[in-house]
């Protein structure tokens, strides 16, 4: 069996294990752990677009909101019909939730396709701006759809998100992105990033690569949105604004663009850091922003941008030598 697949299965098993003991974990820590997992999905999926394909997207929160609303709509509207009055068994609830998450992901992917086809002709700052614009448009539309709660948002979403769901999908996201980029087909993402003109001249369809990256990224953002909705139990359009997109972008850049382990570490750090800084709550955001500036000045290639493969192989070699 290929190594990434083993890693995926191991991660899912670990998620099941942790989920099993979640009753014994302090609810506060459980909240933070769940938040970390959701942010890992968001950051790793955005990394496919921003890091590996080199397209600067500022609309990730928009796709997240599509997934959040769609999956919440599924569990709120379809859920009771499918599960009946008793609320259904755990398995039935799980299946409904899985369906809702996938529906949210597919909806977001469709939105990604609709946004990507016209806007991916643009480059750099302009692309950033158009994706930002689309993100804002999605938010304003949700604010105006009364059946989805309008500006007040959707309330009473069932509490389905568990550590198991979050970390299984986080593992699946990492698995998909890593395998996609390492595949023969996926080399095209890197080529598109490194030199678009050269890639085109050797016959790569760079537009298609960009769209594929965008759609896959949007799918996982949608799933993360679904998980987020069933974790916070209430979603408002303003929760998915420009600031949220920036937050995800910062994770990607701090981790080092196109460096999945680094991005995962950055997602963990940037979710935990505000919690740690809560003790000095007043100064929390000031410190956070200062840290961002200082990091960019001191370590501009990203905080966690190491060659992880080299570090791992060096460790393995040292272990082997130590063993004799």
């Amino acid at each position: 069996m290929p190594k990434p697949l083993i890693a995926l299965i191991a991660a899912v098993l670990l998620a099941i294990g942790v989920s099993h003991f979640s009753d014994h974990i302090d609810p506060y820590y459980l909240d933070v752990i769940t938040g970390v997992g959701i942010n890992v999905i968001l950051a790793v999926s955005l990394n496919l677009v921003n890091g590996y394909t080199g397209q600067f997207s500022l609309g990730h929160a928009g796709f997240m909101s599509v997934g959040a609303y769609l999956s919440a709509a599924v569990t709120l509207l379809l859920g009771p019909k499918l599960l009946g009055d008793s609320g259904g068994s755990d398995l039935a609830q799980g299946l409904v939730f899985l369906g809702a998450l996938i529906a949210g992901g597919l909806g977001a992917a469709l939105a990604g396709l609709a946004v990507g086809i016209p806007s991916l002709r643009l480059k750099g700052d302009y692309l950033a701006l158009v994706t930002l614009g689309f993100g804002e448009i999605i938010r304003v539309v949700f604010q105006n759809v009364e059946s989805l709660g309008g500006a007040l948002g959707l309330n009473g979403i069932p509490n389905y998100t568990t550590v198991f769901w979050v970390y299984s999908f986080a593992a699946l996201t990492v698995f998909t992105v890593v395998c996609l980029v390492r595949s023969t087909y996926g080399r095209g993402f890197l080529a598109t990033r490194d030199d678009e003109i050269a890639s085109e001249s050797v016959g790569l369809n760079t537009t298609r690569y960009k769209i594929v990256a965008f759609v896959v990224g949007a799918f996982f953002a949608g799933v993360a949105g679904g998980l987020y909705g069933h974790f916070k139990l209430t979603i408002t359009p303003t929760g998915f604004d420009f600031t949220k997109s920036i937050e995800i972008v910062v994770m990607v850049i701090l981790g080092g663009m196109g460096n999945t382990p680094g991005v995962i570490l950055a997602a963990i750090l940037l979710t935990v850091l505000p919690e740690v800084l809560r003790a000095v709550d007043q100064y929390r955001m000031v410190l956070y922003s200062l840290l961002l500036i200082v990091l960019m000045l001191v370590r501009p290639k990203g905080l966690f941008n190491f060659d992880y493969a080299a570090i791992a192989s060096r460790l393995v070699r040292r272990l082997r030598r130590a063993r004799g």
């Binding site: 806007s119 701006l129 972008v249 100064y283 956070y288 960019m296 000045l297």
Partner: protein, 296 residues
């Protein structure tokens, strides 16, 4: 008809404010090719300087109002130059995305420091200029609107003069065209960039005070939405193009005011972006920008 004229007037004053902010974005983009996200927060700081100075002056006099404007502009010019010197200069020549992230960090820093220093609750802005309302054939013209349009017009003419008729303006245009060549002919690029930041921040400060006059409540996050729209305006007109920024801002101000007055008013914020996307798709260089083909 009266209603149309009324909306036109409202749109003009909103567009004038957007123009003041957009000019700063477009000038910085012109010389450095990056989006200065902290610009919208310099706008906020300008409004707050105006607030503190305005509180200490007798309200409702033209001189007092002009003093407030001048104080805000001077304060923000210093702030803008400091931001560039301390934060952006060490990153110059680095990857664009890192500069962008630093700018976002700077923006968050100003917003949250603002919440600490100024407090997060919105405050009423003092009426520093004489508040008078004139009615002409049913058309309601407030003194504040007239002042907004007048001040913006004067500042834009002054800017036009600075950029096209002075030595430093020529240097600015040279740096925008080609920084390396500008350096070769003896232009001190650092000075020009500092000057550009100072100039842009001054205009943003004026915009901040004028915005606060018309929408008389200020808070540390007030810059985010107008800043974003002003940037949209700059792109609409062709980023890096000074008359383009003013034109884009006026168009955006008008369209927004008219949409606000129609039954789609709740979509106001989305429509600004929809127009932007349309423009970028069909004319990516903006209305007045010239399209440059990418060379290998």
């Amino acid at each position: 008809m009266t209603e149309f004229l009324q909306q036109l007037l409202n749109g003009l004053s909103l567009g004038a404010i957007y123009a003041l902010i957009a000019l700063g974005y477009t000038m910085v983009y012109g010389v450095l090719r990056f989006i200065n996200f902290a610009h919208s927060d310099v706008f906020m700081v300008g409004a707050f300087i105006g607030f503190y100075v305005g509180e200490r002056l007798p309200s409702g006099t033209i001189t007092g109002g002009l003093v407030v404007l001048a104080a805000a502009m001077a304060g923000c010019a210093v702030l803008g130059i400091l931001i560039e010197r301390i934060v952006y200069r060490p990153l110059r020549g680095g990857p664009t995305l890192n500069v962008l992230i630093t700018a976002i960090g700077m923006s968050l820093f100003l917003e949250y420091t603002g919440q600490l220093v100024f407090g997060a609750t919105p405050r009423a802005f003092p009426s520093i200029f004489p508040a008078k309302v004139v009615e002409v054939h049913g058309l309601i013209i407030s003194m504040n609107q007239v002042i907004v349009i007048l001040v913006a017009a004067v500042l834009m003419v002054a800017l036009e003069f600075t950029v096209y008729r002075t030595k430093i303006g020529t240097a600015m245009r040279a740096v925008a065209l080609n920084p390396k060549a500008a350096q070769l002919v003896g232009i001190n690029v650092d000075v020009v960039i500092s000057f550009t930041f100072g100039l842009g921040s001054m205009l943003a400060a004026a915009g901040g005070v004028l915005y606060a006059l018309n929408y008389p409540s200020i808070d540390p996050l007030m810059g985010v939405v107008p800043g974003l729209k002003a940037f949209v305006a700059a792109v609409l007109g062709g980023i890096g193009n000074i008359p383009g920024a003013a034109l884009g801002a006026l168009i955006l101000g008008m369209v927004e005011t008219f949409v606000d007055g129609s039954r789609w008013s709740t979509y106001k914020d989305a429509i600004a972006f929809a127009i932007l996307i349309g423009i970028l798709l069909f004319r990516p260089a903006g209305l007045l920008g010239r399209f440059a083909a990418e060379k290998v």
